[in-house]
Each structure stands twice: as structure tokens, then as C-alpha cells.
Point group: C2
Chain length 319, copies 2
């Protein structure tokens, strides 16, 4: 109730990442015979947790660096988040985007004030284009996950969860590049090592699970999964965090992901990206082990075209 007596004429401040709601989901809690909390990063600024890392990384730049502006290559949530973070610090963001990126994503970056540069599709082409721009103007590269400041920024999500529910048994987070999982595991284990941190990954893009098991960084190849936010492989930094702080990484197949996603849309009534369904599918798959416990699941983002939402019938059999 801190804002109860706020004056009427208060101005909205420079935007910062939101403290997003942590909700006790009644249906999942009943079904699990315990407490299932959802951390709603789909309600975050730019509708994904990526706003946390991008904001933190930009805020740590010195004055000279800020004057040069920032740059990244991403057609997804990181591009949008960096554009927003730069705008809220009053600096420029240059986002290199493959020319075949969905128009809806390009529009979202521009809406946040990002300066869009197109390149041919392909990872090499993105980097070439980015270097080309950097060579001219010296913008600072803010990578999507493999960066200490990004990881620490993402850790604020788990920090908020633990402030509200310090006695959890486990936190489940999806893993793609590993920025969120690294930050989550670091924040959790340095606060309370008894809380389990479980990574959740599509079977079809299981480089993190295999790397974790082999204790050796394995590259993902070119994975295909509906959980498009999780196709990326780990970086060396995120791999080290995960090796040191994560308890286990569970995988689920594409059918399990679609079923959990449809369930989330039609029964949890939340609009979320398919990547968010991966920890929900893990909850179902490991229900007997997780039953009766107090569990938080990070719902990582909500940037999905509502035209592509799965049909209700796909949810059958989840619960």
C-alpha cells in the first residue's frame, strides 16, 4: 500500500522493469495438491523477462558508451527489450534484423524507438552487418544472454519471487541461451541453496540438458521446436552458471509442449509464448515427484500472435 496516498499530479517516471505479479494459480495448485505460483513475465515491459537484462546492461554503461548508443542482432524479444531499455535511458538502439523477420516483430522494435537495420538471413550475415555498423559509429554490443550484466539483470526475476515466497521447494525456468536460467539459479542458490532450480528444455533442442550431463558445452546444431525462444544454444558464461547452480534440466517433447501451451491458453486464460509451456509440460511429466510442493514457474513472455494460438482440443488430457 506504499502508493495509497500518492498525490494526484504525480508524473510517470522514466520506465524501469516492472515488478511483475507472482500469482498462486488455483487450478494448478489444486491439481498438484500444493502451491503453484506463476511469475508473470508476460506482463513485463515489452512483454518478456528480456527487459530486465537489457535494462540492467544499459544502466551500467558509462557516459561515453551511452553516447555511442547500443547495438544487437535479434528479431525477437531481446531486440525489442534493448530498444525499450535504450529509450528509457534516452540513448539510441540499433537492431540488426534478418529481412525475412515477421513484420509484427519489426514493428514492435520500431515502436520502442529502435533503429532497424536489415541483413540477409543467417547468423553470419547478422554479425557481418552488425560489425559494419559498429565500425562506423562504435555502438556498444549488448548480447542477448552470454554477458554478465544480462545474467545479473535476469536474476532480478527470481529475486522478486524469493522476496514474496521465500519457502519455495523449487523454481522451474525454461532454458534457451541460458541467460534467465543462469540468473535464476544464481539468485536462488545464493539466497537459499535448499530450493531446487530446474531447467526446462524442448527435447528437440536439448543442448543444455546434454551439456549439463556431459559437463561439456555441446552446440545445438540447428534445432526445430515450436518453442521458438529456446532454439538457441548456451554460451560459455551461461553454461558455467548452469553447471554451478542448477540442480537438473528436464526435457519434454513437442506434443507435450503443445498440450501444455493449449492448456495455458484455454484453462489458465493467460496469453503466453510456446516457450512458456515447456516448464508447464515438465510439471505434468514430473507430477508425482513435484506433488504437494511449493513451486514457482517463470512465464517468460507473451509476445505471440493471437491468430496462432492453439485450439482448445489440443489441451485435452493435460489435467
Amino acid at each position: 500500500m506504499a502508493f495509497f496516498c500518492r498525490p494526484f499530479n504525480i508524473q510517470v517516471m522514466t520506465e524501469k522493469p516492472f515488478r511483475t505479479p507472482l500469482i498462486r494459480q488455483p487450478l494448478l495448485s489444486q491439481w498438484m495438491g500444493g502451491d503453484v505460483y506463476l511469475k508473470c513475465e508476460n506482463l513485463q515491459q515489452t512483454h518478456s523477462f528480456k527487459a530486465r537484462g537489457a535494462y540492467h546492461a544499459v544502466s551500467l554503461l558509462d557516459k561515453t558508451a551511452k553516447e555511442k548508443g547500443v547495438i544487437t542482432h535479434s528479431s525477437g524479444n531481446h531486440g525489442q527489450a534493448l530498444a525499450w531499455a535504450a529509450k528509457s535511458h534516452g540513448i539510441e538502439a540499433h537492431i540488426v534484423v534478418p529481412e525475412n523477420a515477421p513484420p509484427i516483430k519489426i514493428a514492435a522494435i520500431k515502436q520502442q524507438g529502435g533503429i532497424v537495420h536489415f541483413c540477409a538471413s543467417g547468423m553470419d550475415e547478422r554479425e557481418v552487418k552488425m560489425r559494419e555498423i559498429q565500425n562506423l559509429h562504435g555502438q556498444i554490443f549488448i548480447p542477448p544472454y552470454n554477458h554478465e550484466h544480462i545474467i545479473r539483470g535476469q536474476s532480478t526475476c527470481a529475486k522478486e519471487i524469493l522476496e514474496e515466497q521465500p519457502r519455495l521447494n523449487a523454481i522451474l525456468a525454461p532454458v534457451g541461451g541460458g541467460g534467465l536460467l543462469s540468473g535464476t539459479a544464481w539468485a536462488t542458490k545464493t539466497t537459499n541453496p535448499k530450493i531446487q532450480v530446474l531447467g526446462c528444455e524442448p527435447e528437440a533442442a536439448d543442448d543444455a540438458a546434454r551439456s549439463f550431463k556431459a559437463k561439456k558445452l555441446i552446440h545445438p546444431g540447428n534445432p526445430d521446436t515450436i518453442a521458438d525462444g529456446l532454439r538457441t544454444g548456451l554460451g560459455d558464461l551461461t553454461f558455467n552458471y548452469i553447471l554451478n547452480y542448477v540442480d537438473d534440466i528436464y526435457t519434454v517433447d513437442e506434443n507435450e509442449i503443445v498440450q501444455a501451451w493449449a492448456f495455458a491458453i484455454h484453462r489458465l486464460k493467460m496469453i503466453m509464448e510456446p516457450s512458456c509451456a515447456v516448464p508447464l509440460a515438465v510439471l505434468k511429466k514430473h507430477r508425482s515427484a513435484l506433488k504437494g510442493k511449493s513451486i514457482a514457474i517463470i512465464i517468460t513472455g507473451g509476445n505471440v500472435d493471437t491468430q496462432t494460438l492453439p485450439n482448445a482440443s489440443k489441451a485435452l488430457g493435460f489435467m
Copy 2:
């Protein structure tokens, strides 16, 4: 954290209405320069607040009445809620449904174990059919809103809000038949009369606003609004509650409702019925008066076909 140490082998009990989450919505709170809380009845049993009233009414029946079962006429949320409430008390529910009702709604009633009886469309036809069945078996009629037990059941929603946020300035709830608004206003004013209770109604179905102003029950005629849950007129009981306990009733037009609905879907990432957009549209329309305050909005239900969700472009200009 009451369930923290729950044993693993606990069984799910007979189902009751959920304590739904009350979330502080970060985007709306920032925009209003205050605290905007959403009470998520779209996450309620059967995905609407109607489960509260139906459950309460069924629970108060005596043994003889329970043996006869219950009956109502409704193709909407009340039918589904009564079927569920009856099932969770182990009794029969008979639901009279017009033969042109959407198959998705009929399926939802059947899924809750309701026994569906078809009738010709039209209010008179529904009542004739219902009496016909009642004359044979004597089932107890549980009306959708104009009933003391229903109103008191709906009041549990505001009770939960006030337990979590006792120092609110205002509660906004939509008004159709007035069951929810009656219960909300009664629970609020008997707890803390300083909290404003504001009814929110479509201009196109403004019988409650007109009745409130005229202090005389005005019938709605045959209103047409996208907020299909709010087409019903008040009953004598709900009218009296509203006259005694509600501070004001605000109306919004169809464009305002669609804009708020699209905003809710695409920016709040919550799946809700168009009726839920009515208080959101009121929030925008009366923003200058409500700015800086601590406000709770009841999101009444989530039973909407995701195929019919509004396009993102419809949300433009809300914020």
C-alpha cells in the same frame, strides 16, 4: 504458505470455488499513477464468478431439496456454474438451453455433468420448458442473479479482495443482472463504507444506470452489445441492493468496450470475456478522477472462443 509441508499423498477434496488471484497490474498501475488490482475471476472454477453464487445457493439446500436436484435456464456462465456446483455436491443439475445456443457452451455444461434440455429460443419458451420439467420431478430452481443466496455467494469475491487490500479507494464491477454488483457493494459497504463501489455498464444496455438514476426499476428491452454477459436487466432484489449500496453506475459505448477488450487481450495478456472490458473502459474514461488511487477491478470471466478475440490494432489509442 499454509500448504508448505503438505504430505505427498493428499487427495483433492470436493471442489469449492477458488480464492482467485488479486494481481497488481503493473502497466495499468503505472499508467494510472496508483495501484490497479485485477481480481481474476476468469481463473475461477468454470472460469467465471458465477461459480461462487451457484455453489453457495446449492450448499444451502436441505437434504430433501438436494435429492430433487436443481434446475435453471441459461446457455451461459450460470448454467455451467450450476452444473459444476451440483456435481461438487453430488446432486443433479438440469439446464434448459435454447436449441440455437453455441455448441461450445452446451459442451461446457455437459462436461460439468449438467443434464441439458433443449427448448425453442425466447425467454418465455425457456420458462415453459423449465416448468414442464419441474412439474414432473420438482427440481429446485436456482436463478442466475435475483436470489439472496446467489448475491451472498457473489459477495465472497469482494470479501477476498478486501482481505488482501483493505485500503482500496474503489472497486469497479460490471453490471448485467446485478448479482455480482449487489454482492460486491454489500460486502464492501458493510466492511468499509469509504470504499467507492462503481457499477460499469454498456451504454447500449444501460437499464441499471437509468434505474439507479430514476430510483425506479426500468426494464432493458432487448439491448444489443458486444458485452453479451451484460444484456440482462436487473431484478427487484438486485435493484434494491444496488440502490442501497452502490455509489454510481458509469456507462461506456461499444467502441470504448472493444478498444478496452483488445487492450486487455494484447497488452494485459489475459483472456477475458468482452463484458470484462467494460470496467477497463470506465477506468480509461474516468482516468482523471481515478488517477493516483488504489482500485480493484473484477475480471468476471474467461469463457470466450479464442477464435473471436479482437485484433491488436483495435487496442490502439487505449493507453
